[in-house]
Symmetry: C2
Subunit: 149 residues, 2 copies
């Protein structure tokens, strides 16, 4: 199993993972051909040095994905924050420890890049997720507030 | 009162606002001369087209600040998220509606830039903040999880 930066050729496999999810299935459009908006978005992510869209690959199959971002702020004496979003594990690979492996890779990358903090928000409907993140060392100190346009 | 992008000459005034806060006072170093790290961070923010560090200025005084960020993701069919952090209002200007004015400016900017979502996290210790954000239209649907290194 290898964790690496995503390539353009991975986009359809990543969208398949995003769509194969209770909440994601309502939001994504995993059809053939894939909407061009996904490729345009990939180009933006790929060209931004603060974005790391990653995949876990095993036997030439994409079995996990996540996006790690870095954001510079004046707060915390000009500290860099890292942030995780869009984590998905292929349904038949859940419970195998892959999520933990992906997170440990991202925690390592965040520290290597000098971030002082790693943050994420998780939908309160994902009841198991908070426990998973707490086991990794996250603390649920904040409310995650969203406004959809 | 004018809301505009922050300039290098505003950095000390912004740090003064960040430090004049229950939580911020423990994290920031508002001394003369200001630590170089704040200026280095300003340069990174200023050069990144996805970052808008803004200030509210009245009678040549900085009375508010916030940072609006844009992050590209594959999720939501390749949608752009906008995110707010580091909001501070000068203590003698709180309760004047300035916070609401700042947020309305940022909501407008986020829509103008094509974001589909605006998000923020707020420390559960800031008990009044959740109500303020809910009045603006945010919903506390997520847990905001943090890991400090």
């Amino acid at each position: 199993m290898e964790i690496r930066k995503a390539k353009r050729a991975d986009v359809a496999s990543i969208v398949a993972l995003l769509a194969d999810d209770k909440l994601g299935s309502k939001r994504e459009m995993y059809i053939d051909p894939l909407p061009q908006a996904y490729y345009d978005s990939f180009t933006q992510i790929d060209q931004d040095p603060n974005q790391y869209l990653i995949v876990a690959e095993e036997d030439e199959e994409i079995i996990g994905t996540a996006q790690l971002s870095f954001i510079p702020y004046l707060t915390y004496q000009g500290g860099i924050r890292s942030q995780i979003e869009a984590v998905r594990i292929k349904s038949d690979k859940r419970g195998t420890g892959l999520g933990e492996t992906l997170f440990k890779w991202m925690i390592g990358k965040a520290k290597e890049n000098g971030a002082h903090l790693l943050q994420l928000t998780t939908d309160k409907q994902r009841t198991d997720a908070v426990r998973f993140y707490e086991k990794l060392g996250f603390k649920a100190t904040h409310e995650g507030m969203k406004m959809h346009f």
